[in-house]
């Protein structure tokens, strides 16, 4: 019976073409060398892992900082504009906004709220014993009642100016101003102009209006009555619906000063924050470069490991050739091994990098963001490196004469 089997085979099949290995077999053959030398696998994958982890965490940390700024920007909104007197065309001439500027702005279509501040030419000190020069960089400003709503501010302590206290010597301090004056809570007294004012409130930080953080705000009436304020606003703040922002932008100057619209300067405070977010998002290229170098060194390590692996396994190569492996199949075996090696390093690196970003974000109170493109890019880079590092050793292995390989044992 057996004889029959041999006889039948001899006459059959006159065409020869090597069988293809299934993907699973390729994986099986490619991982064989790794399974037998786990320590070497760990060490050479580590180089790749460190490189990828560095790059992922550099990108992750800057993305996390950016995300935090973007979230804050979302909260504050990008629908606020500020109008202030611009430079006059004639040198030396003071440009002033009309007294009723805020009221006019409030009537523009789409504007939801408008408020104003006007700089008062006086100083604020902790008490009257201090010299006038020690103003601490704090400006005194008259503020309309609507202002707080427009800038979406909150009081950290006490209350905002209202119809009642706005007429009396009452002051609301921005958070920086309060700090500089050493006022921790509403209820204290500060020397403002030529009398003591009662601090009725302290504001929480205002990222969109940092100038107000450094101000002592007095009610409009009180400023005119007690501090010789001329009633001309120096900044008009307005907030409009999202889709009317650009229309309002064009209308602001002509509305405030129809005769000399060029004298009115319109600014968008959220633009500054946006620029800051963009610059936070630009990651540190020095660190990224370091990560790249680590990755390169890791790739060299993988190539080195692969060359040693090929040298050590010459007999296996000879054996596989005798079992019927074609050159291409030997090549793909070693490229697969290299790919698995660096892919393993890449996967570990992604996890480490994401974890490092997580720790950093947690410590700094940032949201934890690891951009998908950085993970995909990092992992893709390891696959490219794995292929490149494995190609030369694999070609060498495939070119090895089967008889020489068999003699090596």
């Amino acid at each position: 019976m057996a004889r029959h089997r041999f006889a039948r085979r001899a006459s059959a099949r006159r065409k020869l073409s090597p069988a293809r290995l299934s993907p699973r077999d390729v994986l099986h053959v490619g991982s064989g060398g790794l399974r037998s030398r786990p320590l070497r696998v760990v060490l050479s994958a580590l180089g790749i892992a460190i490189g990828i982890a560095t790059m992922i965490s550099v990108v992750g940390v800057s993305a996390s900082s950016q995300e935090q700024l973007m979230r804050r920007l979302d909260r504050l909104g990008t629908d606020m504009l500020v109008a202030s007197p611009g430079e006059s065309m004639f040198a030396g001439e003071d440009v002033k906004l009309p007294k009723n500027a805020a009221g006019k702005v409030g009537r523009i279509d789409g504007v939801e709220e408008a408020g104003a501040t006007g700089t008062v030419d006086t100083t604020v000190r902790r008490n009257d014993k201090l010299p006038e020069e020690e103003s601490g960089g704090i400006t005194v400003q008259a503020a309309s009642q609507e202002l707080l709503k427009v800038v979406r501010g909150k009081t950290a302590s006490g209350r905002w100016l209202n119809g009642a206290n706005g007429r009396y010597p009452a002051v609301v301090l921005g958070d920086v101003a309060a700090q500089r004056l050493g006022v921790g809570q509403a209820g204290a007294q500060v020397w403002l102009g030529d009398r003591y004012f009662t601090v009725v409130g302290i504001l929480a930080p205002l990222p969109l209006a940092p100038e107000l953080e450094r101000s002592a705000l007095v009610g409009w009436d009180a400023a005119e009555r007690l501090l010789d304020f001329d009633g001309h606003p120096t900044s008009v703040y307005e907030r409009s619906t999202d889709d009317s922002v650009s229309d309002v932008r064009g209308l602001l100057a002509p509305t405030i000063d129809p005769e000399n619209p060029q004298d009115v300067k319109v600014t968008d405070p959220s633009a500054k924050l946006q620029a800051k977010a963009a610059s936070e998002g630009a990651f540190n290229s020095l660190l990224l470069g370091l990560g790249g170098i680590a990755l390169l060194v890791g790739g060299v390590g993988v190539a080195n490991t692969m060359i040693i692996s090929v040298l050590e396994r010459r007999y296996e190569i000879g054996l596989r050739r005798s079992l019927g492996a074609a050159c291409g199949q030997i090549r793909i075996q070693f490229v697969t091994e290299s790919l698995l090696l660096s892919g393993l390093g890449g996967a570990v690196g992604v996890v480490l990098g994401a974890a490092a970003t997580g720790v950093f974000a947690h410590v700094d109170g940032l949201p934890w963001v690891v951009p998908l493109w950085s993970v995909a890019g990092g992992f893709g880079a390891t696959l490219v490196i794995g292929t490149l590092a494995g190609l030369y050793p694999a070609v060498r292995a495939a070119r090895l004469s089967p008889t020489l390989a068999l003699h090596a044992a």
Partner: protein, 238 residues
């Protein structure tokens, strides 16, 4: 009878002027059990490599299982080895850490058969070499003779036309060597074509046909069967 190996005027020279084989003619018919004998340096290994299509001759023609080797590309030669030639080496060369059955199945890796089928045939081949009960054992749990029998199972699992054994008893004690040779005899009796390369005359003397090499040339080709000792006469008398 079908000719499995046909060497005509095969010469192999290596770079540096070493001539390993000189004008060798060798035919091996299907079902023959041939010993290729000679001292070391006589060209045995070179002959094995050329017959096994691992190497090409400098001149002369080689026909294996009906294929003219000179006309085949590397890919085609690989396929020829995968389907028609089985190798057994002196040092077994089993893959450490995987079972005997998986080692035998490696012999079919490049045959294009699906994995389950490879494992099924491997179990069958182990049964043929009398190691069915050792299928789950890993190489380090096997004796030398058992390892070589696993290696033989790996070589025959694809039912090759030709089985080449390079010093199959070289690394074994005499009792194990005995059992391995018995197995080869059994396979030969079942119809396999086998060439055993050896420098051990004791092993060679028990094979039905012996080809003796010296300095790269065939100096003797004898068959145990008296009728075939002088092939020309035997055919004339028939």
């Amino acid at each position: 009878m079908t000719r499995v190996v046909g060497l005509t005027g095969v010469t192999k020279e290596y770079a540096g002027g070493v001539t390993a084989l000189r004008d060798v003619d060798l035919d091996i018919e299907q079902g023959e059990l041939v010993g290729i004998v000679g001292p070391s340096g006589s060209g045995k290994s070179t002959l094995l490599h050329i017959v096994g299509t691992l190497d090409r001759p400098t001149s002369g023609s080689v026909e294996i299982a009906g294929f003219d080797v000179a006309a085949l590309s590397d890919r085609e030669l690989s396929a020829l080895r995968a389907r028609h030639v089985g190798f057994v080496f002196q040092a077994f060369h089993l893959v450490p850490g995987i079972s005997a059955q998986d080692n035998v199945a490696e012999g079919l890796l490049y045959s294009g058969l699906p994995r389950a089928e490879r494992r099924r045939r491997a179990a069958e081949a182990l049964e043929r070499v009398g190691l069915a009960d050792r299928a789950r054992h890993r190489p380090h749990e096997l004796s030398g003779g058992q390892k070589q029998r696993v290696a033989i199972a790996r070589a025959v699992v694809g039912d090759p036309e030709l089985l080449l054994a390079d010093e199959p008893t070289g690394a074994l004690d005499s009792a194990s060597g005995e059992s391995v040779m018995e197995l080869l005899h059994d396979l030969g009796a079942a119809g396999a074509t086998i060439a055993v390369i050896t420098h051990d005359t004791e092993v060679a003397d028990r094979l039905p046909r012996r080809v003796r090499l010296r300095d790269g040339a065939v100096v003797e080709d004898v068959r145990e069967d008296v009728r075939e000792r002088v092939p020309g006469d035997a055919r004339a008398g028939a």
